[in-house]
Symmetry: C2
Subunit: 277 residues, 2 copies
């Protein structure tokens, strides 16, 4: 065990602001860890891009964090988690925590009737990453999926409980409700922002699974297993890097995290594009 290893930051990357819901969970689970966050706000969204492009961008994002000397990487983007993990684990040696596996485990544990719903971006749903992960844990479980591409723009616009949001949610979720699911995985880091509206539409007897909570628990387990937890007893530093619009990011981050944010830096997308060479 290397003393310095313990004080290295945890790296988190996402296609934009959604991964802040994961940072929020990390802050409450592991308050003394230093965190470096990268949000690819110049190239968001990933959910409507090809697998090839998402893998390329994810490798660049991870390399950026590695250059910041992180001890572990959280892929806080479900789209990247669903297509880029093999490429990331092949290239980088640090532990990589992703959203699909941990969210699936939590959902299987929570479900009583073996009927689980999954919602996510079109890319995540098309890749059937969650349904494959859940079937691998227990192939008797029935999985019902629905792509909800309009949820991200509604969340980013802050239309949390507008009547239009509810209409869109009804359109996306009615088939899952009719199928009789008792558990619903919020398979996109933006969706916890719309949790109240989603809960209202699916009804109180459906348990919502926030993969960000599960991911934070997994990070805690992993750093305990490897004995690389911060030894500091004071709150860790938070550093944010984005590829565009740092000011807009600061404002949203303060809303998400409920605290003042000062360390938001802009990285030119051109730097990312050549970071692997």
């Amino acid at each position: 065990m290397n003393f310095f290893e313990t004080e290295k930051p945890i790296g988190v990357f996402d296609s934009g602001i959604g991964g802040l819901t994961v940072v929020k969970r990390l802050l409450s689970t592991l308050p003394n860890e230093n965190i470096v966050y990268f949000g690819d706000t110049a190239r968001v969204p990933y959910g409507s891009k090809s697998n090839e492009t998402v893998i390329e961008y994810s490798l660049q994002d991870a390399q950026f964090l590695i250059n910041k000397n992180v001890k572990l990487i959280v892929v806080a983007c479900n789209t990247a988690s669903s297509v880029a993990i093999p490429a990331l684990r092949e290239k980088f040696k640090v532990p990589i925590i992703e959203m699909i596996g941990v969210g699936s485990q939590a959902a299987v544990k929570a479900s009583g009737n073996g009927k689980i719903g999954i919602i996510g971006t079109r890319a995540t749903i098309n890749n059937q990453a969650y349904s494959r992960a859940i079937t691998k844990i227990n192939d008797a479980i029935k999985v019902y999926e629905s792509a909800c591409p309009l949820f991200v723009p509604f969340a980013e616009e802050g239309w949390i409980d507008h009547p239009a949001t509810k209409l869109v949610a009804k359109e996306y979720l009615s088939s899952l409700k009719e199928a009789g699911i008792d558990t619903l995985v919020l398979g996109c880091t933006h969706y916890p922002i719309l949790a109240n509206t989603i809960q209202e539409v699916v009804g109180d007897n459906v348990r919502l699974i926030d993969s960000g909570v599960a991911a934070a628990d997994q990070v805690k387990k992993e750093i305990e297993r490897m004995a690389i937890g911060a030894r500091s007893s004071v709150p860790g530093n938070l550093d944010f890097y984005v590829s565009d619009l740092p000011q807009k990011f600061s404002e949203i981050a303060e809303l998400f995290l409920g605290r003042k944010i000062s360390n938001v830096h802009r990285i030119d997308p051109e730097v990312l594009q050549t970071i692997l060479h």
Copy 2:
């Protein structure tokens, strides 16, 4: 006049698929011209990015078209038109047709009561590009603006006349309606796709201005003025280049243009990022 000049293609670029509404107008106005279209589908949307980033991407997009030997460039993206035109005109010698000026001219001509509404992405509205252009033509005209960031995802998802689309449109357009506008500029190339819903919400006494129609007319005037119109009497070739998801683009393009599309090629975003060096 150079004979070969006349047979060069017209170049059109947009952040994604929206510029196809302009191509549709060009096909009916100038059916014998060859057209090369570039849609930056790997980096869409531009409307939520910084001016700095939009200018950088626009220069790369235009350089790509110049490398395809175009005789004129149509900036079919309102966001790029609102921030990148000075940089584009400084760097490139071919005529550059943009959306803001032509849309503003058409709106001033159409308005009877001198009250004009403008809708667009947040970037276009924040830059006040349309209001400045209209005031420059006639400073007695009153301009009312509204950013409609959710319209692009609704159009891209094909939710053309869903009740949720109408609720969103009511939220965005009610203040313009109350202000008594008689003309409304669709200041984003995606918006003509939602024209029926927009018309229904603002009422039949409001005239909608499609900047794409005005831009196609301007292209015709410019190539006549410079005597660089195609001499061919057969329909021109259409070539499409996109930075991601050519298959999805083909499907949408066929819907938009009402014809079979075969020439869609993918360009790696990395090529764009280094095209200016």
